[in-house]
């Protein structure tokens, strides 16, 4: 009975996004369907994911790929990101919301694929959709910017090599390109100055999470116990983290500073997620959730600030605590969560990670990581101080706070962060008792 239900859920997971994209793109109704209808589709998908987790707790089925609840956690993160892309597509009348659904379709397919060739197809589709999103929101050139299109092309080629036995050792690079990993991190630390910041952050989050999954599922990294390759890997991640933190300090544009901070924390989480995935999927899930939620929330808040103030430079903002009390509090809370303050999921996830694989170089990495986080805390607090505190900047435009609905949504997004900070083992216990991994 369960297996039938799970097949239905899998079908829904794939069918709803592609149907949504098709309806928006190819069947333009005389009167457009309301946004709530599409939001309901996303809600159904969330329900399907949660139901799947519940089903596998009742009757674990290790043979089924969907049983790997970690994939479901990633799927939830991807869902949220795609939903935000969808909303901004509608808001900015970019493509009516089809790209968000399409990205979700390919992401779901990639997570559900049990064959390498099928996974490759979905991955290529995912990369192409990401490119289309980039074009739609940011790129005015026919071929887009090289820092973004380059990694997409390389990734497709490198993952294709996985089909050939001789090229397998190169295939992890297909995914490492989308993780903050020196020197491939150039595109991730880049943030366009125009367009919606949230969409860019959501794109990065999707590619990051799916890359972690791709490495785990299709080309696991293996570090010889005696060699120095693991140390080199840790060192490169630490370099990317420090670079992100310093970039955040140097940036004077609000969205770029936030974006660089997210990049830096992604670099912190990269080795931890990759180490945790084989044996401790709960820790990896905590890290993914704790990274995704504040990243997206800060993206939304940054867009709202820019939209209301019509300004991008931190120095041009100030004193917004009067007009935006909700945004002020939520921005403060999410920068604390993103900067891995104790009590946040990110802190507990990082501290609960298994460091046993690393040798003495772990301490060098730890030193670099702590330094990076301290620099990040400096940059983020300074951003909050510049945006919300101090005397108000002279502006002719009236500014308004975030809506009550958005505020409630963000508060709901914050609660899991606290919950995971206090009890990070909860995700692990759910995933492990399901027997999926």
């Amino acid at each position: 009975m369960n297996s039938v239900l799970i097949k239905v859920l899998e079908g829904l997971t794939l069918a709803i996004p592609i149907a949504g994209a098709a309806v928006i793109r190819f069947f333009p109704f005389s009167r457009p369907l309301p946004g709530r209808f599409f939001s309901l589709l996303f809600l159904i998908l969330v329900g399907a994911d949660l139901l799947s987790i519940g089903l596998f707790r009742v009757q674990p089925d290790p043979a089924r790929f969907l049983a790997q609840n970690f994939a479901l956690v990633i799927h939830l993160a991807v869902l949220l990101s795609c939903y935000l892309i969808f909303r901004f597509e509608i808001k900015q009348t970019v493509s009516g919301g089809a790209l968000g659904f399409l990205l979700l379709f390919f992401s779901s397919g990639f997570l559900l694929s049990q064959e390498l060739s099928l996974a490759l197809c979905f991955w290529l589709g995912l990369l192409a959709t990401a490119y289309l999103i980039f074009r739609a929101f940011y790129g005015s050139r026919p071929v887009g910017n090289l820092p973004f299109t380059g990694p997409l092309l390389f990734s497709g080629i490198l993952f294709s090599l996985d089909l050939a036995p001789a090229g397998m050792w190169l295939s992890p690079l297909a995914f490492l390109l989308f993780m903050p990993f020196f020197p491939f991190q150039r595109w991730m630390s880049f943030t366009p100055r125009s367009g919606a910041a949230t969409v860019w952050i959501a794109c990065r989050v999707v590619l990051f999470a799916l890359s972690a999954w791709g490495i785990y599922r299709w080309c696991p990294l293996s570090f010889p116990a005696t060699g120095k390759s693991l140390d080199v890997f840790l060192g490169l991640c630490a370099l990317a983290q420090i670079q992100g933190a310093l970039l955040a300090m140097g940036e004077s544009v609000a969205r770029k500073r936030i974006s660089a901070a997210i990049f830096s924390q992604m670099a912190l989480c990269t080795p931890l997620i990759l180490f945790a995935l084989p044996g401790r999927p709960g820790t990896a899930a905590v890290l993914v959730v704790s990274l995704v939620l504040p990243a997206l929330a800060l993206g939304v808040l940054a867009d709202h600030l820019e939209h209301e103030t019509q300004r991008q430079n931190l120095g041009d903002m100030g004193g917004l605590f009067r007009d935006m009390p909700r945004a002020d509090i939520l921005f403060f809370l999410f920068i604390l969560a993103l900067s891995a303050m104790p009590g946040s999921g990110l802190f507990s996830g990082v501290l609960g990670s298994d460091f046993s694989a690393a040798g003495d170089f772990l301490w060098v990495w730890a030193l670099a990581s702590i330094s990076g986080v301290v620099l990040l805390q400096w940059a983020l607090w300074a951003a909050w101080e510049q945006i919300f505190l101090g005397p108000p900047q002279n502006t002719a435009l009236p500014v308004s706070d975030i809506s009550a609905r958005l505020a409630v949504s963000l508060v709901l997004a914050f609660i899991p962060l606290i919950f995971l900070g206090i009890w990070p083992g909860i995700l692990g216990s759910i995933l492990l008792t399901a027997g999926g991994l």
């Binding site: 071929v143 820092p147 630390s189 970039l247 140097g250 604390l336 460091f355 330094s371 083992g425």
Partner: protein, 583 residues
């Protein structure tokens, strides 16, 4: 779960809940906020009294969450109520109550005063969590959350950059310290396999510790203890504003007076508490303790010297706090942990009183702008005795501490450690006397009589307090004999007298220079002028930090951003072919 455990959990929870309700439901009404915040603190205080009565001298433990961080199985993350936690809880709660009552009147009519009261409740709750934590991770979490609450208090005047910038500085400096603290915790936790304090201390027991093994062996080796305590020690020094991490404290004076009072009485002291809580670890690392002694003694001298040249009452009190914290670290560095706790409590209570009283002095002075020099005593009014009381206790602490050895009949501060402490103690104490001498109007027969009486009273209290603390805190935090036996006490007292004489002569020259305006002692006048400038600029520490740390860091950040922007521009194939930059 036992009733006592539940009540223990409620100790930090009640002020936090009160603060939360104040934030959520006060809606700008400071009366409502005051009611809920005070209710939380009062209930917590009653709870503490009940726990003390119930536990006697025993321990009460409570479990909070499962421990996902420790490598070896152990108890869950939780709280403990021992004599050290009890003493600190009473200090925090009583100071918090006084500050709340003061703030209620002080902040009347100010915008967001309800949030201010709520933030005091938050800080109180997090401090209580800190003193009752029995796990290093929880301790660190509380340590950082106290900082968040402190910064919220500091940015109370949100529309003023003069408030928000110091808060940013406080945040950054303390996060640097927090990074060291976290590093130390990781080293110790990795070595012991657990972050639980009992487990950590148990791993120190004599056993198969390989003295030759390094830091990375994954066992509690001597090098792991040294590195762990060193890093935690640096973190503590930052929070307690000790050299060279002291720059954040003097810039926080723009905050409302109650914040200064609470900060100096409860938050800056937190470093001393952590040092005492982890004293079983620190005594295994005498090198680090000696380092703390050196830093503490240097800060005591620095703070006391800079205090001399300050013109602002609150600024003077800030440097006084630094000096007193320096004393406390020096005491800890010599292994006299119970004395440091007693010192901390005495300092906390009196510094809060002095800060809260300073506002009325400033207020009175503001309305008597044409008061002739020396007439400030009239402005003090009923606070005069308060000043004498507070000041006399502060300056007499080191001397009393040492004199109490004679009456205790045992070498409380044996050997060279005691000698060094005596020297620095006397130097700072005499400096404070000279500072008081500037308010010469206070040295009336009545004041001198009061001073002497207070000295005797404080002497008795201090001696009794030290003995009592030594007893009740044992074995959690006991006096350690870390320094080798040095010269005999027959040598000790002549040196003490010589030191005192030297300081008296130096002080007389200083005062004579002030009185004669440089006419009698031109060379001394020029030298002391330079010294005055040096101290007035706080040893040029701010300039040094800006030049050697902040500017290079910002320069690197700017360079990375420029490189980033440069490689981002014109990198599309079309831009490469046409030479036109990207849009």
């Amino acid at each position: 779960m036992h009733l006592a455990s539940v009540l223990l959990i409620l100790v930090p929870v009640m002020p936090l809940a009160g603060a939360g309700i104040a934030y959520a439901f006060s809606r700008g009404d400071d009366g409502t906020a005051f009611f809920w915040t005070r209710l939380g603190v009062v209930l917590s205080l009653l709870d503490c009294i009940f726990l003390v009565v119930r536990s006697g001298s025993g321990l009460i433990r409570a479990r909070l969450f499962p421990d996902p961080f420790s490598r070896i199985p152990g108890p869950d993350i939780g709280l403990v109520y021992d004599p050290l936690a009890a003493v600190m809880s009473f200090l925090i709660l009583s100071v918090s109550l006084v500050i709340l009552a003061f703030s209620r009147r002080y902040m009347t009519g100010e915008p967001r005063s309800d949030h201010f009261l709520g933030a005091i409740g938050l800080a109180t709750g997090f401090l209580l969590l800190l003193v009752t934590a029995r796990n290093l991770v929880l301790l660190y979490a509380a340590w950082e959350l106290v900082l968040v609450a402190l910064c919220l208090l500091l940015v109370h005047h949100r529309n003023r950059r003069e408030s928000s910038r110091p808060a940013l500085k406080t945040w950054v400096m303390n996060q640097i310290g927090g990074g060291f603290f976290l590093g130390g915790i990781l080293v110790l936790g990795q070595a012991a396999g657990t972050f639980d304090l009992d487990g950590l201390f148990a791993s120190l027991l004599p056993g198969p510790i390989d003295g030759g093994a390094g830091l990375f062996s994954g066992r509690m080796t001597p090098s792991a203890i040294v590195w762990g305590t060193l890093l935690i020690g640096i973190g503590i020094l930052v929070r307690s504003s000790q050299l060279p991490f002291h720059l954040w404290l003097p810039v926080t004076l723009d905050a409302p007076t109650p914040v200064s009072g609470f900060m100096h009485a409860g938050i800056v002291n937190a470093g001393g508490f952590v040092l005492n809580r982890l004293s079983p670890l620190f005594v295994h690392s005498p090198g680090v303790l000696h380092g703390l002694f050196v830093v503490g003694a240097a800060t005591a001298i620095y703070g006391s010297a800079v205090m001399l040249v300050q013109v602002s009452v609150k600024q003077t009190l800030v440097y006084s706090t630094m000096g007193q914290m320096g004393y406390m670290f020096a005491e800890c560095g010599l292994g006299v942990f119970p004395a440091a706790i007693f010192h901390m409590i005495a300092h906390g209570i009196f510094k809060a009183t002095l800060f809260l009283g300073s506002g009325s002095v400033i207020h009175t002075s503001r309305f008597h702008e044409h008061s002739p020099k020396g007439s400030l005593s009239r402005a003090f009014g009923r606070h005069r005795i308060l000043w004498v009381l507070g000041g006399s206790l502060l300056i007499s602490l080191p001397l009393i501490l040492l004199l109490s050895d004679t009456f205790r009949g045992k070498p409380f501060l044996p050997g060279t450690g005691g000698l060094i402490l005596l020297f620095f103690g006397l130097a700072t104490a005499m400096q404070t006397v000279f500072n008081l001498f500037r308010f010469s109007h206070l040295l009336t027969p009545r004041a001198v009589l009061a001073f002497t009486g207070m000295f005797a009273l404080v002497f008795g209290l201090y001696w009794g307090g030290l003995t009592w603390f030594d007893r009740i805190l044992d074995p959690l935090s006991k006096t350690q004999f870390l320094t080798p036996q040095g010269p005999a006490w027959s040598f000790f007292y002549p040196v003490a007298l010589l030191t005192m004489g030297f300081i008296l002569v130096a002080g007389w020259i200083f005062l004579a220079r002030e009185a004669s305006d440089g006419r009698k002692f031109p060379a001394v006048f020029a030298l002391s002028g330079r010294l005055h400038d040096f101290l007035d600029q706080c040893g040029y520490a701010e300039i040094l930090v800006r030049r050697w740390l902040r500017t290079p860091l910002e320069s690197w950040a700017s360079t990375i951003r420029k490189i980033h922007e440069r490689t981002g521009e014109g990198s599309s194939p079309e831009a490469f072919l046409t030479g036109k930059p990207d849009e």
